[in-house]
C-alpha cells in the first residue's frame, strides 16, 4: 500500500471552552487526498475538533487551545494569516448556509474576497467549481436566481462549490448530509468520492454507514478523547477499543 503525505498533523491538542475541556490530548496524522471520517456520540467534540483546522474556534471567545496543529508543515496557530488559512482549508456546514444572494454571487463571494476582479476569470471559476460540485448542469441557466430558491440538497452542493471556488487544499465537512434526503445524500457521497482525487477531506458524520461507504480512515471520539483511529475497514470490522466497538454495534451513543 502506498504511503500518503501527511496533510494535517495534530499533536497533543487540548481545547477548553472556559473551564470545560472539550478535547483531551488528541494526536493524529491526517493523510493527503483521503477521506477521514470522525464519528462518535453527540457532544464528544467532533465539530470542535474540525473547527480547529481552519481556526473557526477563534470566533468563540471562551475557547482556548494548547498543543500543535500543522498543515503542510506550518504551525497554524503560529504567526500566520488566518484568512489565508481559511482560504486553504474550506468548510461545509451541517445546515446549508447559502448567502441570500444569487447563485453567481454565492460562488463569486470567495474569489472576490481574495481579490479576483476579472469577469471572465470569475466566470471560469464559477463554472469550474459548480461542475466539480456536480451542480453545473442543474443551475447553469439560472445563475442569477436567488440561491434560496434551490432545494436543500442543491443548496448544500452550492455550499461545496462555494468552498471549492477559492481552491482550497482541504475540505472540512460537518455532518454535511444530516439535513438532506437520501437521494441528495447519495449525490454528496458520490461527490466526496470524486473530490478526494484533488482534496483532502475530513468529514464528521453520525451515520455509520456513510463513514463506512466513503471514508478511508475513521477516528472515533468519546468525551473529547480520540479512542480509535485507523483504516475504516479495520475500525469497523475489528475495533481495538471496547467502547468504540459498542458504539459501532449500536450498543450506546
Amino acid at each position: 500500500m502506498e504511503t500518503k503525505n501527511i496533510s494535517i498533523k495534530v499533536d497533543n491538542l487540548d481545547l477548553f471552552y472556559g473551564e470545560h475541556q472539550a478535547l483531551k490530548s488528541v494526536t493524529m496524522d491526517i493523510a493527503e487526498k483521503e477521506i477521514t471520517a470522525f464519528i462518535g456520540p453527540s457532544g464528544c467534540g467532533k465539530s470542535t475538533f474540525l473547527r480547529c483546522f481552519n481556526r473557526m474556534n477563534d470566533l468563540i471567545e471562551s475557547c482556548k487551545i494548547t498543543g500543535l496543529i500543522e498543515i503542510d508543515g506550518v504551525d497554524i496557530y503560529g504567526k500566520i494569516d488566518v484568512n489565508k488559512l481559511r482560504k486553504e482549508v474550506g468548510m461545509v456546514f451541517q445546515k446549508p448556509n447559502v448567502f441570500p444572494m444569487s447563485i453567481y454571487d454565492n460562488i463569486a463571494f470567495g474569489p472576490r474576497t481574495h481579490g479576483v476582479k476579472k469577469r471572465d476569470y470569475l466566470e471560469h471559476i464559477i463554472e469550474d467549481s459548480l461542475t466539480k460540485a456536480g451542480l453545473w448542469e442543474e443551475v447553469k441557466d439560472t445563475l442569477n436566481k436567488s440561491a434560496l430558491m434551490l432545494s436543500g440538497g442543491q443548496q448544500q452542493r452550492l455550499c461545496i462549490a462555494r468552498a471549492l471556488a477559492v481552491s482550497p487544499k482541504i475540505l472540512l465537512m460537518d455532518e454535511p448530509t444530516s439535513a438532506l434526503d437520501p437521494i441528495s445524500t447519495g449525490k454528496i457521497e458520490e461527490l466526496c468520492d470524486k473530490l478526494k482525487e484533488q482534496y483532502t477531506i475530513v468529514i464528521v458524520t453520525h451515520n455509520m454507514q456513510q463513514a463506512m461507504r466513503i471514508s478511508d480512515k475513521t477516528a472515533f471520539f468519546l468525551l473529547g478523547e480520540m479512542l480509535e483511529f485507523g483504516e475504516t475497514s479495520q475500525v469497523f470490522s475489528q475495533p481495538k477499543n471496547k467502547k468504540c466497538e459498542n458504539y459501532i454495534t449500536g450498543r450506546f451513543g
Partner: protein, 603 residues
Amino acid sequence: MGGFFRVRASGSNSVLCERVGSFSFLQSWVGGVVFRVVFLVCALFAGVAVVSIFVFLVVGGGQAVGEIGVLQFLFSSEWGSYGIFNFVLASVISAVGALVVGGVLGVFVAVYICCFASGRVRAILNVCVNVLACMPSIVLAFFGVRVVVSALGVFSVTGDGSGIVAVSIMLGIMIAPTVAVLSKIAIAGKMNAGGSGGVGGARGGSDSTYGTARALGLSSEQAVFGVVLPASKSGIFTALTLGAGRAVGETIIVLLLGGGNTNIPYAPFIPFRTLSSNIALEMSYASALQQGALIASGLVLLIIVVALAASIWLFSTQKTISPNHILGRASIAKICKRLSQTISLVLVTALTAIVGYIFLQGASHISINLIFGSFQFSGAPTLLSSLVTTLMFVGLTLLLVVPIGVMAAIYLSEYSRPDSPFYKLIDGCLSVLSSIPSVVFGLFGLVFFVGFLGFGVSILAGCFTVALMVLPIVVKASGDSISNVSAEVKSAAYALGCSKLGVIVKVVLPLALVGILAGIVLAISRKLSESAALLFTMGASLGSLPTGYSSSGTTLSVALFALMREGGSAGYAYGAALVLVSVVLVFCLAYELLQYRLNRFAI
C-alpha cells in the same frame, strides 16, 4: 510544500493568489484596524454627547444658580426672583394627569391587543397605536387648542377651557402609544408561546403564563386580569415610567394648552407653566441671568427625567408571580375585559377625530398658492420656505446621524459583548440620550452650537441639535437588525477566508439593510415632528426662503407653532397642519411597511 499562508511567505503556492493576489483593503490588517477604530469612535460619540450635554448645562446654568442661590432657585415659587418651585410642581401634576389618561388608555389597549383582539382588529389597533405614536406634538396641541379647549370652555367660568384638564387629556393621548407599545411587549411575553415570549409567538402556548393559567381552568379574562397582568407588572411599570418621562419633558402641548401664568394648577382651568413650557416661553428673549436660570431649570428637568428612567433599573426586577384575586374574580374580570374593549374604541376614535379634523379643515383651506406662493411680509403667508427648510434640515441631519449611528451600532453588535462594561456604558448613554426632553436638547443646542461653536440661530445649529436627538433611534434600529443577521451565514463568509471587516461590509450590512432603513425612516418622522428643540436653535418666526445653512428657518412643525403663537391667518395653520400630518403619515406608513417586511422575511 509548506508556508503557503505564512504572513510573510514569499513563495505562495496558491494558484489563485499568485495569479490575481491584488491588495484588498477590506481583507487587509490595516483596514481592519482603521475601521475598528472608526467604529469605536462612533460608539464613543454617544457617551461624549451625553456627558457634554450635562457639562454644558451645568456650566451654562451653574453661575446663575450661584448668583440666585440654590435654595432660592429650587424652593421659591417667585419666578420674578428665579424660583422654579411652582414649575416643578406643575410638571409633576401634569405628568400625573397625563398618566391618568395615557396610562389607562395605553395599558388597556395593550391588554386588548395582546389578549382579546383577533386577526384584523388586532392589526388595525396596532396600526392606530403606531400612527398615533408618529403624531407630532404640535399637531396634538393644534387639535387640543381648536377642539378640546373650546369644548371645555363650556365648563369654565371664564369661558377659556385651557388648563390642566386639557393638558392632561392631550398629554395622555400623546403618551398612550408609548405606554401601549411597551406594555404590549411585557404582556405578550406572558401570553405567547416560547416562555420568554416573542411578540410573534402563538397566543396561549401551553408553556406561557397564560396557557398555564387556562390549563388550571380559569376563563380567558380571568387568566388575563388575574394572572397575566399581575405577572407583567414590572414591564407595565417600565412603560408607565417612560410615559411619565415623556409627559414631563413635553413642551409644546403644555405651552399651548396650559396658558402662561406662573401658577400651580390647583384647579381645572388655572393657567400654569411647567419647567419645560417655561423654558420655551422665555428663552428666546431672556437676558443673561434669566437665561442662566432657564438653563439650570433645563438641568433640573433633565435630572428628573433621567431619575425616572433610572428608577426602572432600580425597581423593575421581577419578583415571583402572585396572581391578583380581586382582578381574577369572574365578574370583575368580565368588566375589565369590556373596559379594555371600550377604551380601545376610545383610542381609535380619538385618532380618527384628530386626523379627520385636520384633513377636513385643511382640505377646505389648502391651495396651490398657500403651498408654493412666494413669501411676502405683507401678503398672505405661504408654506414654501418651510418646505424648503424642512428638506434642507432632514437631509443634513440624515447625513450627520446615519453614518455615525450605523457605525456605532456596528461596533456595539460586532465588536463588543452585551455583558461587557463598555457595551453597558454606551447602551446606558444611548437610553439617557433617548429620554432627554427635546426642550433640553434645544437648550444644549443654544449653548453649544449656537453660542459656543458660533453657528448662530441657523438651520445648521438646528440640524446638529436634532441629529443628537435621533441618534439613539438609528443606533437601536441598526443594532437590532445587525445582531439579527444569522450567525450561520456569517460563519460561511468567515470560513471562506473573509476578514471581519469584509464580513461586516459584504454580508452583515446588506442583510441588515431593511432594518437600518426602518430606523432611518423612524428618525425622519421624529425630525419632522420636532419643534421644541428647534425654537431657539433654528428660529421660530416665519420668514423668507433660506439662502443657506447659516440662515434661520422654520420647519413645517415650527411654522405651525409660530402661527398658533402669533395668530396668523387660520387657513395657513390648517394648511400647514394638513401638509405636516400627510408627510408624517407617509413616513410612518413606510416604517410600518418596512417592519412588516422585516418580520415576514426575517433572515
